[in-house]
Symmetry: D2
Subunit: 139 residues, 4 copies
């Protein structure tokens, strides 16, 4: 797939996913090996201290790394995240939050990707790494 | 705090959190060093394959480990999760999902906790580990 | 392989490995899904504070988890560790250090194992988790 | 400390460490927030397949991230690595192996650093992340 097809494919996936719309995640852009998603952090994304909940950050990181690997997986194969490690670096506040996922290496059976989670001012809220299994798509 | 106070404290926190009610998380039980939470996985918790989204599992693991450390932190101090590592072991389906967080070690400035995420049949969907900073509660 | 064959296979591997003898690692025991190794921590295993170096603990954890998965991998297939996460919980001192690796789940292409690293008094120095790829052994 | 003092301090540490000389690790260079170390992989650093042992890679990553944080810690405070996550991306062969540790964020009590482990041709063998506690140096 070229860059346009990749972005159209991911945009269709995100649009048809009940989870993504419930979470408020939107696809910002995609190209081979790189995917950017974002959400507008509202009250229900915050913890009791009024800060962005760690689960929301982990969800953004999981989605951005998984979709980034997806852009590098050939037709007839699929990806499953097997491990996600998130390092929380700064508290996040209400407002736009963006996750940029990038692949570092995608082999025939294992992929490795990373994500930056950034606030509206571009400050790094978290860094994440993911191990993704790549396998034949039976069905 | 004794066990009854710990559970009452956490129950009040979970009830007053917009994030927790939006996510559908409930406190099942708590004692010193151990917290159990659960949610009923509905359509909006699922990915495009109809399986429990990795972000939901990470959110349960983050919450269970954080609250487990919370039960071991003395008054006047607070906890902040700095790192969360999730290993996804089996796909999850709609239905009740439970996370059991347990502390392995909580020192004066660093805590370490683990979580099991289980489906309604008690199958292990994920295992997670968390590093939690413990610090003076200024405000 | 039965338990006796597994232990004999691993004992032969450890004995023939230049790395293992240089590191001072010995196989204590093995059964399906569980491997125990140890080393006698000497001066050259210590950091400048006289404590067991984190690299030695990571090496024990890497070896114990990898060999534990090895006991569950059928003939004609091999394992490669793709990810290792180590949580350091207590400083270690000179003396016997033991790592116990256990498998939690070994599928056809991915395995997940954990390790406890213990000092001579049985205190938990570190907990580790590992993601292991399982693949056809070509050669 | 300026860059020259940082490098001299780390060089003295590495030279006086029995572990570092036994492991064969040398300091290549250091500046605030960045440390490069290397070793010449010999037979005793290899596993049974003749590839660089995962423990050696983890040791290089642990050392490079820890020393990188060390360059950012003020006098009177010390650092202790509490968590290390290593992603193995390619098998390593005998020859020069280099680890470059960089700090992403060092706060008053927690630091986060990353490392690239590279072979003699500059290929990325592993990526690692570390959580480091920073505390008062009593003694």
């Amino acid at each position: 797939m070229d860059r346009h097809d990749i972005e159209a494919d991911l945009r269709a996936r995100v649009a048809s996913s009940a989870f993504h719309s419930w979470m408020g995640m939107e696809l910002v852009g995609a190209e081979p090996g790189r995917v950017e998603i974002s959400l507008e952090a509202a009250d229900h994304h915050l913890n009791l201290q009024g800060l962005l909940h760690g689960g929301v950050i982990a969800t953004l990181a999981d989605t951005a790394t998984g979709l980034a690997v997806r852009t590098m997986v050939p037709a007839g194969r699929r990806h499953v995240t097997v491990q996600l490690d998130v390092h929380y670096l700064r508290p996040g506040a209400p407002g736009r939050v963006t996750a940029v996922g990038t692949t570092v290496r995608v082999g025939t059976s294992i992929g490795y990707a990373e994500a930056d989670v950034l606030d509206a001012k571009g400050r790094l809220l978290a860094r994440a790494t993911a191990t993704v299994a790549v396998m034949a798509d039976h069905g």
